[in-house]
Assembly symmetry: C2
């Protein structure tokens, strides 16, 4: 993960509708959810969601697969893990203890 990828992933999640989509997909696991199911759960217009799916896909935070007329989206955990690693890299200059006392980062 580099800065550009991390910014893209963070920006993709930094929007209420997209964050809700992502959390729904994290909960759904491997099976994922169809665009229509997500639209129903979030009460959002299809065009609006399509726009957000594209942003999340472009950041590789979600993947899609077609099944008949439906498109299923699912969370890509690897990219989330990469982002978390990038955010906490060299935490407290490598001094684990200094890192644990204030909060409980990782």
């Amino acid at each position: 993960m580099n800065s550009e990828q991390a910014v893209k992933a963070l920006a993709a999640l930094a929007q209420p509708t997209r964050l809700a989509i992502y959390r729904l997909l994290v909960e759904a696991g491997q099976a994922g959810m169809s665009a229509g199911q997500i639209a129903e759960r979030l009460s959002a217009a299809p065009a609006t969601l399509s726009f957000h799916f594209r942003t999340l896909s472009h950041a590789e935070l979600i993947a899609s697969r077609q099944e008949g007329r439906f498109i299923f989206y699912s969370a890509n955990f690897a990219v989330m893990n990469g982002m978390l690693g990038y955010l906490t890299e060299n935490c407290c200059g490598g001094n684990i203890e200094a890192c644990r006392t204030p909060g409980d980062l990782i």
Copy 2:
């Protein structure tokens, strides 16, 4: 952590300069760094950084303390942890195994 706070934190990090600031402060640990030191490391204009400090502070991702003429900023790990928890809540519907196989989320 709620959706609004999470979006604020994610948006704060979703910008190259702010992400660089945050990572610098994660590395610096409790001691933090002065605004001037950060400006030097990132070769950014003071006014630009001030704008970004405000965004990060508002999201409570960083804290500040004054020491003489200097203002020291440091990372607030608690909010980062809250955000990570929010992102992975109810992962795979609670089925830990389904969650671990694809990547290694948490």
